[in-house]
Amino acid sequence: MSTHTVRPVVNGAAAEVQVEARTTLADMLRTGLGLTGTKVSCEAQICGSCTVLVDGLPVSSCTYLGVDTDERAVTTIEGVAEGEALDAVQQAFVDAGAIQCGYCTAGYVLAVTALLEANATPSRDEAKHFLDGNVCRCTGYEQILDAVFLAVAARGEQQ
């Protein structure tokens, strides 16, 4: 199996990692770079738990190859908070009770971040449509939608 050296910018810092051509981005992040906040569940691009941002756009890292991130910007959950302070989306998830087992949380935080970058004031239907690629088995989704609109309000106040 051929190996490749990949040089992505991960959470704002230049990284260098050896991967096989078949290595998924999720595996590269978790095993190669020790960034285990990204979680893998369905391995089929259905559940969204492994969502990370590549050049600002959400991708399922379970079905995205590590080699394709060469010279690209990758944002994982470890890169969302500013030091000790939670980001507005993270704080909204905490406040809304949108976290139970936490396994889907990282994927959601990045998916909601991408949603609000694309549309700062989504309607309820727009939010549901955008986030339909993320599965949460615990919460029943209502509190996640609450978190989205808490984050919308908080980001609005910041501006």
Binding site: R30, V94, D132, V135, C138, G140, Y141, Q143, L145
Partner: protein
Amino acid sequence: MTGSSDPVVGGKVLRIDAVKKVRGEASYVVDVPWADAWHGAVARAERAHALVTGIDREAALAMPGVRAVVTADDLDGLFPFFGHYRPDHPILALGRVRYWGEPVAVVVAETLQQAVDAVPEVEVSYENLDNLMSVGQAMRHGAELIHPDYPEDPRAFGPFCDRGAEGTNEAFTNTMDWGDVDAAMAAAAHVERTRVAYPMLYGYPMEPYAAQARFDGAVLHVESNAQHPFQVQKDLARVFSLGLNQVRVAGKTIGGGYGAKSYTKIEPLAAVCARAVDRPVRIVLTLEESMYTSRADGAVVEVATAFDDEGRILARDVDITLDTGAYTDNSVRVLRKAVETCFGPYRVPALRVRGRAVYTNTTPASSYRGFGAFHTNPASESNLDRAGEALGIDPLEIRLRNLAKFGESIIPDSRPVDSDLAADLAAVHAALKVVPREGKLQGVGFGCALSPEGADPTSVAIVRLLVDGTALLMVGSAEMGQGAHTTLAQIVAEELGLALSQVTLAPTDTHLVPYQWTTGASRTTAVVGLSVQRACRDVRRQLFEMAAELSGDDIADWSWVDGWLTGPSARTLTPGQVITEWFGPHRGEIVGTGRTQRRGDLDLWPSLWEVGVCGVVVSVDPDTGQVELDQLVSVADVGKAINPQGVRGQDIGAATQGIGGALFEQIVYDGPQMANANLVDYRVPRMSDLAERIQTIVVERADGPGPFGSKPVGEGAMTVMGGAILAAVARAIGRWPEQLPLTPEYVWRLMRQRPDGDDPD
């Protein structure tokens, strides 16, 4: 002192683990391999039912990085089974496979990728047996026996179930009887007969099964995402002939459980590998493998009910058949609970229940949130609805006429009902509103349930009050997302007058925390909470003793007021002052213990009753048969909401899993292999399936046996969802479904078979 306007019990309290989780810093078993661990990948049976005639390991052993191929040969000298009722579940196939996907061998390699790459090189030869893929096939006269030579222990299924008919694949049976059912049926004004099939489900905790194991000298150390570490400990001790003191089962943050992670799963497999290679071995399954590992039973439930002419139940006669798969696991309990719940929360003067579970060549069935109750509730509830239709009584009224009242026992000698179910149902009824939608067929449905919960109420808790006034709680309940650790910490904070941030939980680890029966059966808040509360009271008692000793007063002169010890002549001390005065500066602590069993406050069975009451409004697309939820109203009748945000999350979360089984989810076998062991074809609820309007009505009457009058939550809403949606769809399309899930195709076909010719086209 809580020091804030929100009380620590009953106020808005954020989960103690939320920040770690939202930062991606919570550590799960899947995240961190032990430093020196090798990795196991499982070679699985590609037959549903066959004798294993040979395993050729050579090609796999020649692959890069492969250190061993572990097979049944490596079980020599061990007790090779697990299973807490009937230990019939082999750790690795012992010359015979009973379902597609059963572990046959484990490739152990230096990296996970190397192990995975070598799995296809393990060559297993088989001699096929008849594939018995359904209850019908397994119970056919002369069918091959799936467990022909298991050494029978007559007590194996006790105390709940009896062994099934000898010489058949009937696994075990259970019954419940009172009154004269036949006489009531003969005298009835109306007898309603209903049959509903409930699908096999997968609980789908998003974190797959994972375990790593090693031998530290004489101690077997296992880290896994088991919900019930002490049950796993018991199985492992038997496998390796070790004392419980020599088996350490530790957990980490668990990525969902819902019963799917109850009891032993792959822990023995990792441990056997660790023993074989004398090195830590780690096994993490894929979703596909997790679906092969455990599922919920499939059920067919037939209910006949005798009514008088005013719709009052005179008798119910219920027949339950479970497809329990290849091994027993926890389905003994599933069947018993199905028997205990199948007649609903109603006054039933005469009852006859016949339940049986049948082995088939499918993934072994075990626990899943609300098991037994969610299997039987749709048949029971739609039977009542259909009788109401026949007798001209509306669905609210027929329930109100039959619901057990507060203080009545629905099963002889059981804990009296501790809820006002009629009031709960009336609240749902008042909140439901049909908002007409153009081009849709709409309907309303209700569901009511009472489930016996608490399991065995054995719980032990330790609370350590440290010299600086903070506290450490040691309890064996796993935090799998349900919020148990936050709720238990709230109880400690409330009882000892602390802020929530002053209470920390020790990790779930059988070497560190005291015995806990299980983390299941909705038992943690009320049962474990009681043991935690008692441990706190024990801390207070010791503080009184010490204060009395120091002051020379009588212990009875000291009392507890808002986190302070108050003694004679209004002298007050903080707990920290008492510890410091008794032990000396900066030293000492107080260790309080609490325990529960079926004694005292919990002396009656069941320890807890869990309420499920809900109502739904659905819209059905007449062209496609697709069902959408317009409104969902659920009652969380919890006695006291210790964490209201958590209660809401448990209630809506449980309802959503119930919606999954009602509308989408089903494991399909269309041959020897599970046809949909993936999330593309096993369709779970998504955000777009959310009801347009959702409401949890939290009912707090402080009428439960748990701390502060609390009762369980987390399964009730799951239990009632199938029946409520079934009835709502029936009223929308004018025909009663007899199976779940209500997929568009099934609903479409039902609509087009309408005998009255009123075709929705």
